[in-house]
């Protein structure tokens, strides 16, 4: 198992290497002077020269790459062209809200969606099944911001149960953190509940047709045990896959949610950076997102081996 983990982590290194190379070349291979692109249209010649200097653009490409990767490994992602702050610091300040939303969303989605899917499959063809599937179509088709504004209207403005928007760190107390987290989490998890419930139902329906489920019933154990112990564990692999890829895709959803609820997360940082052509920040965000993808995929693969003894490591 340990060897397997090690191998998987080693295998992730070349992937990240390719991403790093791509990010590096993003700036260097754009037509024109990267310094000019970075500096924008109204740059003074001094500013241009300073940028050239700081990027080491006078060196050969290979040397530039090595220097860049070396800095990267030491946690130096460069300096923002807009705010002049180190990119690492900017992301560090913004990462907590985004991670909080993402994790809360995925946890809520799993807690709600998996039982829904199981019940729908168990009561296949009944009104319960149709109700869950209808709900799931709704979840797919209503955009995040619509759900978000609806929730704000009802729970923050009409009922005044929770604050309208904003974010408090969990380190400043759970209560304020929690009440500001509820609405964005609900808004964003809607579509994931739809997705995961659908996948769970499909996987369960597949598994319920298997011979070993019939064997379990022939043993005379009760239906709940048949569902949970025999069916769900076997249906888990495709469900985990969807949860994993869903988590990776969350990042785009986080951007919208952060805008709706005015939360200072990395989603908004990215949007702002793109609009302002703040290349060092964009580069850092691409690297971060890729890293999340790789790590999530690694976790999924580890989860497979834990769930299914036939998958060898």
């Amino acid at each position: 198992m340990l060897g397997y983990l090690l191998r998987r982590i080693l295998a992730a290194v070349p992937v990240m290497g390719v991403v790093a190379l791509f990010v590096f070349l993003l700036l260097r291979l754009t037509p024109g002077d990267p310094a000019a692109i970075l500096a924008g249209d109204n740059a003074t010649p001094e500013r241009l020269e300073r940028i050239r200097e700081s990027l080491g653009l006078n060196e050969p490409l290979v040397v530039q790459f090595i220097t860049w990767v070396n800095k990267l490994l030491h946690g130096d992602l460069g300096t923002s062209l807009i705010s002049n702050l180190p990119v690492m610091k900017m992301i560090g300040q913004r990462v907590e809200p985004s991670i909080s939303i993402a994790l809360c969303t995925i946890i809520l989605a799993v807690i709600v969606a998996v039982p829904l899917g199981v019940i729908a499959a168990w009561k296949h063809g009944t009104w319960i099944d149709r109700f869950v599937m209808g709900l799931s179509v709704l979840g797919f088709s209503v955009p995040v911001f619509v759900v978000g504004y609806l929730l704000i209207q009802v729970f923050a403005i009409e009922l005044r149960w929770v604050p309208v928007q904003g974010f408090r760190s969990i380190f400043n107390g759970f209560g304020p953190f929690f009440e500001r987290m509820i609405l964005p989490t609900c808004a964003l998890s809607f579509i994931y509940i739809a997705l995961i419930a659908r996948m769970t139902r499909a996987a369960m329906l597949d598994v319920l047709g298997e011979d070993y489920v019939r064997t379990a019933r022939a043993k005379g154990i009760n239906e709940v045990a048949v569902m949970m112990r025999h069916a769900l564990r076997n249906a888990a692999v495709p469900v985990i896959t969807v949860i994993g890829t869903g988590f990776a895709l969350l990042i785009s959803g986080v951007v919208v949610t952060e805008s709706v609820f005015n939360i200072p997360g990395i989603g908004r940082l990215t949007v702002d950076a793109v609009l302002a052509r703040d290349y060092p920040v964009i580069q850092a965000m691409i690297l971060l997102t890729s890293l999340i993808y790789v790590v999530v995929n690694l976790l999924i693969d580890v989860a497979y081996t834990l769930l299914d003894p036939r998958i060898r490591y």
Binding site: G3, R7, G125, E210, D211, Y212, R214, T215, A216, R217, A218, K219, G220, I221, N222, A225, R229, H230, R233, N234, L307, D308, P309, R310
Partner: protein, 549 residues
Amino acid sequence: MTNTILDINNLVVSIGKQPKGANIIDGISIQVRERETLCLVGESGSGKSVTSLTTMGLLPKGTLVPTGGSVKLVGEELLTATDRRLRQLRATKMAMIFQEPMTALNPVVPVGRQIDEVLRAHTSLDAKARKQRILDMMEQVRLPQVERIFASYPHRLSGGQRQRIMIAMALVLEPKLLIADEPTTALDVTTQKQILTLIRELQRDHGTAVLFITHDMGVVAEIADRVAVMRQGRLVETGPLETVLRNPTMEYTRNLLSSVPSLVPRAPREETREPVVLEANELSKVYKERAFFGKGREVVAADKVTLTLRKGRTLGIVGESGSGKSTVARCIVRLIDPTSGGVRLAGREIADISRRLLQPHRQKIQIVFQDPYRSLNPRVTVGESIAEGPVNYGVAHTDAMKRARELLELVGLPADAVTRYPHQFSGGQRQRIAIARALALDPDVLVADEAVSALDVSVQAQVLELLDEIQKRLGIAILFITHDLRVAAQICDEVVVMQHGRVVEQGPAAEVLTHPKEAYTKALLDAAPGRNWDFANFRPVEEGVGATA
């Protein structure tokens, strides 16, 4: 001694709840007594599995519904019992084992725990007592190293071991009734023999009543006390084993018995001087498993197999699963590339030529696969499927379609079947289509890879007859891969017996199958179920019968 355990009386099972739904089971009545094995025999679709699932209360909800009659277990009515009561009865009073040991066990739970579930659901024993009882039971079903197997996952066990686990699970609470639904069909003959013996012995020790469902007359002859023959949801005939096998009263039973191929090889055909069309020379296939670190594993699937096939002759490759017989067939057709050795097709070496150079030779050798339900593209009409090959080789489409109609008639189907789709045909008809498709290219060699194994005996007999007739008419050579010695005895001129990738014995079928020289061939023949019965002639095989039948 003659306690009736299971009493099914005038049972009717219909599709759906509506009164107009068709009856899948139409008024059958059977009884199984203590210490007795009743074999329920019938071809696919006869309703024998539905009967057993009705008894267990395991019919798919809503689609199949018992609408009449009664099913009594030791006097207790099951059809009107609540779900809760049925759950209590399962595993304690009645238990069931299934056809596919490969899929009947949950792959993600260790087998010991799967048996343990039965005890936890139905007894109040503590963990230690439960484990002791399970290990006991596992020893009774003759599993080796019970402690190790207790903690093993199903994929670590062989098919035979898994079926033993299923039997242990079924009998751990000593139920009065054991329903065995084709429990040995998916197993090799030698394993089958062991499992049949095991069921017999456990039945004797525990006094269990056994309802044994099978399509295989050989198995019936081995295990039954009484036989009930079913057809299309009705009971055709029932009686003691000897009576049914010797003096079947009903036409259907007679036909069913006559279709069982005899183990006694057919009269050998004269040796021919026809040219050799196919030769395999020291053909080997090694599967290498590459490891990330360290050394990989090697599996020798075929080890220096040499065989010769003449025009107009049939060569059988027989062996159990994993013997390498299919690997050899696939190497010869070049569906997979052999690791070493040669294949000469009509005098031309094809084992190592490139795929592109091979293309013109492909039409000389064609293959028919085992499963007629999966070997035809469901979205392509039968005619297009047959014509596709010739069209690939440059025949005009209209000519190819015309030929397809002729071929369909040759295999005994109406010519207008060309416009229909595979799902409109039965399994036997589909296999005929697959044969027509293979013949469309006028091959010199037809490879039949378990081509009749998925078919009911009566259909099997027809397809074998068809192959024979085609061979006579077209002079085609047939390479026939099968695990079934009865089939091999009826169609092959020569046989090659394989085990673990090696050829154990080869020679004329009449010789090898009556006077085997090798221990393995003897064991195979010895394990063939019902070897003492000559079903087609309604009598036991006399001692020392030679190749004269």
